[in-house]
């Protein structure tokens, strides 16, 4: 198209059109820049993790427990299994509570009681994780007289609840009113509508929330310091102190030995890898389901 044709076509709006076009280009450029800035740290983290983490990976790394300090070799089996147990138990405790809270807030929470619970959850979300650890220390560890994996799970569950509850509420509120009406019109009582129609429709969103909560708590070291403590040895006994990846990363990364630093990098890589694999697996399992249609 030649300039002359365009000017006849657009007529007097030509100037306006040019200005809009230019503005559009500037804004698109600015957004592309923002995306690049956001992606750079992510790419760098992944790059350093892979570069420094891969050398530390070995068969022993996954199957051996730590050697005594200063003796190179050994692995972190106890920390990997420990993290799995502590985080898994936190999910088992926290997810049902959180989803129940979310359901209550979205379906029955349009009143003062709901406003109060919403406020509590907001406060909970704002508590620093180390404070949660201290709280559980005072409540459980000090009373029982010893550290335990269970106490660690409780602390992580407390961190998990507000995250998952809020996302659950939002996802349930996204379910179109027309679907609830369709269910009521079929003679379904309210609780059945929530259970059979609203929750399944919001399930992909709720699962995303649980995944987000999982990634958040799996990397927490602070709330485990005075709850699950840590353990040089392999254990699956939840009444005993238990090791976890974040805590062992902390100890190794700040320790004096080079092979510790290498193992700390490797553990970080494994932590990120496990979370990634779980997220992808869950998405593959549930992601194919039909999502909420607006």
């Amino acid at each position: 198209m030649t300039g002359q044709e365009r000017s006849t076509f657009l007529g007097r709006t030509e100037g306006l059109y040019r200005r809009r076009k230019a503005f559009d280009r500037v804004m698109t450029g600015a957004m592309a820049l923002a995306v690049v800035l956001a992606v750079i740290p992510l790419a760098l983290i992944l790059f350093y993790l892979l570069r420094n983490g891969i050398p530390g990976l070995s068969w022993d790394f996954f199957t051996q427990d730590p050697n005594r300090p200063g003796k190179p070799g050994g692995g972190v089996r106890n920390a990997i299994v420990g993290s799995g147990i502590i985080v898994g138990m936190a999910l088992v405790i926290g997810v049902p509570v959180a989803i129940a809270c979310g359901v209550f807030l979205s379906e029955y929470g349009q009143n003062r009681m709901g406003a109060f619970v919403r406020f509590l959850i907001e406060v909970m979300a704002g508590i620093p994780s180390i404070t949660v650890g201290l709280f559980i220390y005072g409540l459980v560890v000090a009373n029982q007289g010893h550290f335990s994996a269970f106490a660690g799970s409780l602390a992580l569950a407390i961190l998990l609840v507000p995250i998952v509850a809020r996302i659950t509420e939002e996802m349930l509120l996204l379910v179109p009113r027309s679907l609830r009406e369709a269910s009521y019109a079929l003679g379904a009582p309210r609780w059945r509508t929530v259970l059979r129609i609203v929750m399944p429709t919001a399930l992909p969103g709720i699962i995303t929330g649980v995944m987000l909560g999982l990634s958040r708590i799996a990397g927490e070291a602070a709330p485990l310091l005075f709850t699950a403590l840590g353990n040089q040895f392999y254990t699956t006994d939840i009444t005993q102190p238990m090791d976890s990846l974040p805590r062992r990363i902390y100890v190794y990364a700040t320790g004096p030995y080079d092979y510790w630093h290498e193992q700390a990098w490797a553990m970080s890589l494994v932590l990120v890898g496990i979370i990634l694999v779980i997220s992808l697996a869950v998405r593959a399992l549930f992601g194919s389901r039909v999502t909420v249609r607006q």
Partner: protein, 298 residues
């Protein structure tokens, strides 16, 4: 059904000319709307007496009395906002989901008061089904599960019975041939018209006595609309159908009786005229009805 050649209807969301707006003295203006246009002895499915409905302090409809003939199609017409949806939602107690909603008057379903104390609204809704303006199949469910949903809500567990009734409902809704080869696909994977027939199948699967349809074709193309209109005539053999529509031709084509509602000066919808469809379209008694159905307004 009489064939009528009606001029196109005015788009319903345009404001009404002043002369169609009632000013004051509403009850006197609407005193001639007889609640019973059918011959003596016609079986009655639903009987509404002096029904009014509120949203908080806003009165949406006022003093509407209508008897609904059994196994017939009754159409509700009227300009946008005159309370047609509100009115039919009183019949299956869906009105009460609106915040601060209130209903007055009496509604009898086969002689039993729908609003009597102790009546379970869920039970009312099983007997008075509803099809909505926009097709709303359950997105997580397949075609079959959608149709079976109401049965499961009712507590039917027998698989053979469920699959029989699903098949029957899909056949009645004229959808069976189009979906029988792929009953497991998601309900929302169907076309809009098919989805609406799926919703009709879902509604009739629980075998209600009355089926309310609130502008069931307004989201559909003319072919899909005709399919649903055909379907309605057939359904009327087994069910009592009440349809809200903005389409005069549709009301004329599918219904046996037609009621015309209009918002009065008090802001609430009133019944202007309720007669057999052939009568009301060929010989409306009320000037306002005539103006509305011919789209001439004056």
């Amino acid at each position: 059904m009489t064939h009528l050649n009606l001029s196109p209807v005015r788009p319903s969301d345009e404001p009404l000319p002043d002369m169609l707006r009632e000013t004051g003295g509403a009850s006197a203006e609407f005193a001639h709307a007889a609640p019973r246009p059918m011959p003596e002895g016609t079986p009655i499915a639903l009987s509404a007496h002096n029904v009014g409905a509120w949203y908080g302090s806003k009165k949406a409809i006022s003093g509407i009395s209508m008897e609904i003939a059994k196994n017939a199609v009754t159409a509700l017409i009227g300009p946008s906002g005159c309370g047609k949806s509100t009115y039919i939602r009183c019949f299956n107690r869906m009105h009460e989901f609106a915040p601060h909603a209130r209903v007055e008057g009496t509604i009898l379903l086969e002689g039993a008061d729908v609003y009597a104390p102790g009546v379970d609204p869920a039970r009312v809704r099983q007997r008075v089904g509803m099809v909505f303006q926009k097709p709303n199949p359950f997105p997580t469910m397949s075609v079959v599960e959608n149709v079976a949903a109401g049965l499961r809500f009712m507590g039917v567990r027998n698989r053979a019975e469920i699959s029989d009734r699903v098949e029957e409902a899909l056949k009645l809704a004229a959808l069976w041939d189009e979906v029988k080869s792929d009953l497991k696909k998601p309900g929302i994977a169907l076309s809009g018209g098919q989805q609406q027939r799926l919703c009709i199948a879902r509604t009739i699967a629980v075998e209600p006595e009355v089926v309310l349809m609130d502008e069931p074709c307004s989201a559909l193309d003319p072919v899909a609309t005709l399919k649903i209109e055909d379907l309605m005539r057939g359904l009327a053999e087994r069910y009592t159908i009440i349809i809200v529509t903005h389409n005069m031709q549709q009301a004329a084509r599918v219904s046996d009786y037609t009621a015309f509602l209009l918002m009065a000066g008090d802001g609430a919808g009133h019944l202007v005229e309720y007669r057999s469809t052939a009568d009301i379209f060929t010989n409306p008694h009320d000037k306002r009805t005539e103006d509305y159905i011919t789209g001439r307004f004056g």
